[in-house]
């Protein structure tokens, strides 16, 4: 576990001032939920010991299937859901610690964009008021907030005179998602968490919004945590990728490496499940059998062993750690096969 924390930032180390300080350091974050009616002591380990570092100006993609805890992770990072344990350090300041940064201040600097759905915008509020709401409750005057909202609507590609006074039901999915982005940007954040922000959009609109997100990141100097189940989108937009399975990180590394040389069998299976756009290259044998197991009372040892083609005794006995066994510590995977000393018969073959 500790190896992941000591990752040397691959942003330019000669960079002076604060830019070498990671935007966000997450250390052993945990959040469990008790479930009623699923037996005594049933616990969903939604976020179970997650550690990673988010560097300034990068986009970290988070992928995983439903129930892997990626959405809970987003909410825990903003303290919208209180973490059970673990540490959050935002730009060098511990979150919610006496000498650190307060949750309210964190929420001013880190914003979140939700999946576009019927509930992402207040249906009874013109969208310009939704955008102006954040600045307004943070002490700006009403007219100033309104002016700010109009500026930001232009930035996300919506004409404020045409779209500002409209209600959400008068906008298309893509336009609503632009408003959602504008609402987050109205707070002038340094970091934005995008939780399945393009997943509900049609493909042609998804491309528009992805282009917009990239452009905003460049011009506004943002740092993104991009959560999605769509591997193609994550590969396109991310600098680094974090793969989650049942509340844990199974692989973390530069996007190009994770997609070209996936180390964890789960990541390999995810990649193998991608559909080709070419009818002559159909997938004939699904890489995995069965569904992801329930996050209630997950398997012992390696959580992926129940679906893993390479599972052995050691996988049941011992939980693999996210390590860096061959010295390249920017790309790590939590698998016994990665660790020559683990006792797995295929260990160290890579």
């Amino acid at each position: 576990m500790s190896a992941a924390l000591d990752i040397k930032p691959y942003v330019d180390v000669r960079d002076r001032g604060g830019s070498a300080q990671p935007m966000l350091i997450v250390r052993d974050l945990k959040r469990h939920f008790r479930v009623k009616g699923a037996g005594k002591g049933a616990v969903v380990r939604a976020v179970d010991g997650i550690s990673f570092t988010l560097f300034k100006g990068e986009t970290l993609g988070v992928v995983g299937e439903s129930g892997c805890g990626k959405s809970t992770l987003a909410r825990v990072l903003l303290h919208l859901v209180e973490p059970d344990s673990g540490e959050l350090v935002f730009d060098g300041d511990a979150v919610a610690a006496p000498d650190g940064i307060s949750v309210a201040e964190l929420r001013r600097q880190v914003q979140m964009v939700f999946q576009d759905s019927y509930s992402s915008l207040n249906p009874r509020m013109p969208v310009q008021d939704s955008v102006a709401f954040g600045p307004m409750v943070n002490g700006r005057s009403k007219s100033e907030s309104r002016r700010l909202a109009q500026e930001i609507l232009i930035k996300v590609g919506l004409r404020p005179d045409l779209f500002g006074p409209r209600y959400p039901h008068e906008l298309s999915g893509g336009q609503k998602q632009r408003v959602n982005i504008a609402r987050a940007l109205a707070m002038n954040p340094r970091m934005v968490i995008l939780d399945e922000a393009v997943s509900a959009l049609d493909k042609s609109v998804e491309a528009q919004v992805l282009n917009l997100l990239r452009e905003l990141k460049r011009t506004l100097n943002l740092t993104y945590l991009f959560i999605s189940h769509d591997l193609n989108v994550v590969r396109y937009i991310s600098d680094r990728v974090l793969v989650m399975y049942l509340g844990q990180v199974v692989e973390l590394g530069p996007a190009s490496l994770v997609f070209s040389e996936a180390r964890h069998p789960y990541t390999q299976a995810l990649l193998g499940s991608r559909l080709s756009m070419d009818a002559r290259q159909r997938v004939d044998a699904p890489p995995l059998v069965g569904d992801p197991p329930s996050p209630i009372n997950p398997p012992s040892g390696c959580r992926f062993r129940t679906r893993c083609p390479n599972a052995e005794g050691v996988c049941e006995a011992k939980m693999p750690e996210l390590g860096a066994w061959d010295g390249r510590d920017s790309h790590v995977a939590a698998c016994h096969m990665q660790d020559p000393a683990s006792g797995h018969s295929k260990a160290g073959l890579h």
Binding site: Q115, V137, G157, Q208, E215
Partner: protein
Amino acid sequence: MSDQAILSAPGAAAEYDSAPATKVRGYWQSVAYRLSHDWITLIFGAVVLVIILIAVFAPLLAPFDPYAQSIVGRLKPMGWRGHPLGTDELGRDMLSRLIYGGRISLIMGLAPVAIAVMIGGTLGVIGGFAGKVANTAIMRTMDVFYAFPSILLAVAISGAMGGGIFNGIISLSLVFIPAMCRVAETATSQVKNLDYIEAARASGAGTFAIIRHHVLGNVLGPVFIYASSLVSVSILLASGLSFLGLGVQPPEPDWGLMLSTLRQSIYVDPLGCAMPGIAIFITSICFNLVSDGVRAAMDVRI
């Protein structure tokens, strides 16, 4: 084109929204549109308006003093000595009493509902938005009141506090508060878990600001719909209380009370006895149908 130019040039924005501007009506406009095409609701709404106008301008419209008694002119038929609807058992003009009675019936119909909306609605929003403890405290208290049939509860409270308009209003308000509270609580707790509330929290907004800007607008609709359906119930219950002698006291002109005092002469003057009942029936059914129409119009998918 540089990035900055893309962002700041107004022309760049037009590229994104080149789709035809689909200006659709706002929510309230669309409610108004539906209402304006619903003839039944419009007609009954007009009747309600007439009833309200009659009540407001009662002193101008009533041909006689509703309290003036006459020993000789008791229970006279329609048209007797210029009394268009005859006289009651104490010789008072029926029409004037019916006109003045509308005032009290409308007050008894609207005031308890308005009070219940304010108190029950507030409690409901608090109960729905606050944590588990406050919710349990509020909602279980309401459940205690809920356990009694509404008429029985109104009768019991009025009986304990004594008659009169004021006490009647209070007892009816107490009957409606729990139900109103439940409606507001349900609506609030549905809204509470939506993404835009979470987004508002993420932008650093306090509870009060979130309730004011994001919750109230979405809770008022269901509360208003429910309240409009309670008005006719309130009129009926108030008449019932008066009939039992627990509401408005003689000699005030109230439809329920008139029904009670005239019932002794049902064999002498059946038509006169029926008239307050007809007034209650028309008023309550009109309010009910208007409420249904408003409910249908407000049930717009947004």
